[in-house]
Amino acid sequence: MKRFYIPLAAATLFLAAGPLAAQDWQDAVKSKPGYVDFGDLSKELGEEPKVEVMLGGPLISFLAEASREDDPELADMLKGLAAVRVNVFELKEGDAKVARDRVNQVAKKLAGEHWQKTISVNDDENPVSMFIRTEGDKISGLAMMVVSGDREAVFINVVGDVDPAALGKLAAKLGVSVKGLSLD
């Protein structure tokens, strides 16, 4: 028997935990200065990213505290972060140009928006760029974009008070080897 409910009047009561709360913290991250909108490359490429990491909100603070004992360096680095976002697209024939164009487009946009480029391999074939955003003398965001051969395009955005030295060190120490990352 299908139940019929009288919904409560106020839509504000739907501001609850769960997917809507997930939307809350994602919206909050989007409004931070260190956030980068890479655009929706999946539309242009006609397929979803093969890797999609979107860590943020309460989960990242839990991760920080959970790591406190075993890896205080990691905990400290995570504590200041609002989000860690990684999108990796596998490139099919003809996709590489689309990806490179997008990278150049975003790079131009960031350059005009108080981001500073700190790495650039100005290789038309394989652009690699990294940007830092600062507020005062604090870093509020980090962005990296790579088109690797014609195989994949990687978009990375770390939002929040990033310590790039710690990030680099922890990346080398803890990062899984992604070269051989097989997915299917």
């Binding site: 028997m1 299908k2 139940r3 019929f4 409910y5 009288i6 919904p7 409560l8 009561l13 739907f14 609850a16 935990a17 769960g18 997917p19 809507l20 093969k50 890797v51 999609e52 990491v53 990796v88 990352l181 997915l183 299917d184």
Partner: protein, 165 residues
């Protein structure tokens, strides 16, 4: 689309659906929960480790179900409430039937708090092993056992009138 993903969907969809039905009490909500859970699995497929998949899925499905319960700030309208409303004719010899027992038991389970309700559903109704349950519910193995026994004892006390059957 990956064959592995399809295989995973086939392997676990019934389990997730059953959990969601038992937690939300509503089949169409349960369908939404299952779809949502597998969508999340798809998004995370590159980083999930095979052994962790089932506890992770259970945890996602459980949270999604509980979220729906919390968001559902509604009361059932009179007359179409829980199926339990179907009135049970008092048995001529006053012996409570199995159906009545089952109905009462189901209602008692539905009224349990979390994580006790999820525990009972996962262990007693779905037959999941303790380790999987522990991971899905963020409990230790011994907590799983102790809580489970305590919860069934509580159910037993609530249904004590059936003890003399």
């Amino acid at each position: 689309m990956s064959g592995d993903f399809q295989a995973t969907v086939q392997a676990h969809k019934d389990r997730l659906y059953a959990l969601a039905v038992h937690l939300t009490g509503d089949r169409s909500e349960a369908e939404d929960v299952v779809q949502e859970s597998f969508m999340k699995l798809w998004q995370h497929r590159a980083t999930l480790d095979g052994d962790a998949t089932l506890p992770w899925l259970l945890s996602v499905a459980r949270n999604a179900s509980l979220d729906r319960l919390r968001r559902r700030r509604m009361v059932p309208v009179d007359g179409t409430q829980l199926e339990a409303r179907e009135s049970v004719e008092p048995q001529p010899d006053r012996r409570l039937s199995d159906e009545e027992f089952t109905r009462r038991l189901n209602r008692a389970v539905a009224e349990l708090n979390e994580p006790y309700r999820s525990l009972v559903v996962m262990r007693e109704m779905q037959g999941l092993d303790y380790q999987t349950i522990a991971e899905a519910l963020a409990l230790s193995l011994s907590q799983v056992k102790v809580y489970l026994h305590r919860t069934r004892r509580r159910l037993r006390h609530q249904l004590s009138e059936f003890a003399h059957d």
